[in-house]
Amino acid sequence: MTHRRPHDWRVPPVILVPALVGLGLLLLPMAGLLWRAPWARFPDLLISESVVTALRLSVMTATAATALSLLGGVPLAWILARSRLPGLTVVRGLVTVPLVLPPVIGGVALLMAFGRRGVVGSWLDQLFGVSIPFTTVAVVLAQTFVAMPFLVVAVEGALRTADHRYDDIAATLGASPWLIFRRVTLPAVAPGILAGAVLCWARALGEFGATITFAGSFPGTTRTLPLEAYVAIGAGDIDTAVVLSVLMIGISVTILIALRGRWMRAT
């Protein structure tokens, strides 16, 4: 670009004042956390056993949920973006429902499906004696349920923007659909997949409502960082709750800055 509009620093007050109010509403709670944070005890609390256990579980489950989302979400996005199956608009709408659904409702829905008396769960229980609630698997499922739509939406967008004629050309050269997907489509949408996966991971890490409803809360098994923070508040241990909150905000901010700076622009 050789031509750029000169910067204009004047903002009309009609816009500036509500903008500052909006910004304050977004930033003040976070500033409040930082203000309230017990900085002197911060290092000790960060390496306290409950925090470290929750952090380890959170990183593990969020990563597993992201892997699961990639495995199912990328092909799903491909179908939504490329195929002409009937009823795709309905499927697309349903896939994005968890984005706006209260996570607690998601947790109840998961119980109805995979719980002991659930549609699939009762069947799993009878045939294999497997019960999902209260296990780490339940945490991963809850996180996947809530976070996978982020990945699907990001990858579908990338696939739509990507030129599908590359795929046609590859096909005329004799490539099989799988080879085309692997060597042509995937590299073209890799930035979109990466951005989607990071968003998905961040959302999974922050998952609370569906997890506590579907998986319960037990240290080391199902009690992730947000649940640990909730327990800390319930137990009146505000310091730990604040430390956990600051930790989560730090992770989120790092991820969003990284996404802004790199992959968002690349897609």
Binding site: L111, G115, R117, P133, G216, S217, P219, T222, G234, A235
Partner: protein, 277 residues
């Protein structure tokens, strides 16, 4: 064309929700907290006297008091039509934290003494906190008792799905004391922050057993089956209520406090499964 139609659908849904939420309330309002002055019953009750408590009273109350306090509010607003009681139910320590942060409330009711002590030490309580009820723990199991639970020792069985309260919250510390008393090593699968959370897993059939307050088990009705624990009455926790120092409606709040600690409060709380103080 299509855009206009979906916009119309959205507007239509929004209008429906608004109308429903504003006008629909009068038609099926049984069991829900009545609105003071709007209920037909209040007209037949004794008319308001000038000395009667009036105006809004805000009560911060432990989650386990939900049903009984709402019942109490119904009784009180029938008695004093000008009284408006609003509740904020939650975990006791959270409520104390709210009170300490200067929440505009008149009465604080906690599910155990240590949390109330925090509020007293913080200087937000006016005078003495009064014991209004006691609660004890019972085992709840889903209808049909799929885990064949008969007593506290069954809560140590690894093959069962057990929901308990987090030790750091009042029902959890009570549970720990009870287990210690019976020398049982519990095998919990989830530690709830809130007693309702533990109970919900039983009513949903996901947990085979949970240790909850007698009052909560009572409130669950047929959704959960109650099993008494021997010696549970030796481990009880006290429910305390206190007037807050910064109560905006001190006169009415004092009257409500008297009712809670008085005969009416006792009756309602006992009906809800609490033990007398």
């Amino acid at each position: 064309m299509r855009g206009t139609r979906s916009l119309l659908a959205l507007v239509g849904m929004f209008v429906t929700l608004v109308l429903w939420s504003w006008l629909g309330a009068g038609t099926s309002d049984d069991g829900v907290r009545p609105r003071p002055g709007t209920s037909a019953d209040s007209e037949t009750a004794s008319g308001s006297a000038p000395d009667d408590p009036a105006g809004p009273v805000t009560v911060l109350a432990a989650a386990s008091l939900t049903e009984s306090f709402e019942e109490l509010a119904t009784e009180l607003t029938q008695k004093y039509p000008d009284l408006e009681i609003a509740f904020s139910f939650g975990p006791s320590s959270g409520l104390v934290e709210q009170a300490l942060s200067g929440a505009r409330a008149d009465i604080l009711a906690t599910a155990n003494r240590p949390t109330m002590d925090v509020a007293v030490r913080g200087g937000v309580v006016d005078g003495q906190a009064a014991v209004v009820a006691r609660n004890t723990l019972v085992i709840v199991v889903p209808p049909g008792n799929p885990g064949d639970v008969t007593g506290l020792t069954d809560l140590g069985r690894e093959d069962l799905r057990i929901a308990l309260c987090e030790p750091q919250v009042p029902c959890g510390s009570a549970s720990e004391a009870l287990f210690a008393h019976h020398d049982v090593q519990p095998a919990a699968d989830t530690l709830a922050t809130d007693v309702k959370e533990a109970l919900a897993f039983v009513t949903l059939g996901e947990a085979d057993a949970a240790l909850v307050y007698r009052s909560d088990a009572w409130a669950a009705g047929d959704a959960a089956h109650m099993i008494q624990v021997d010696g549970a009455r030796e481990v009880t926790n006290e429910y305390l209520a206190a007037l807050l120092a910064d109560a905006p409606n001190r006169r009415a709040a004092t009257a409500v406090m008297e009712e809670i600690t008085g005969e009416l409060g006792r009756t309602v709380l006992e009906d809800a499964g609490f033990l007398e103080p």
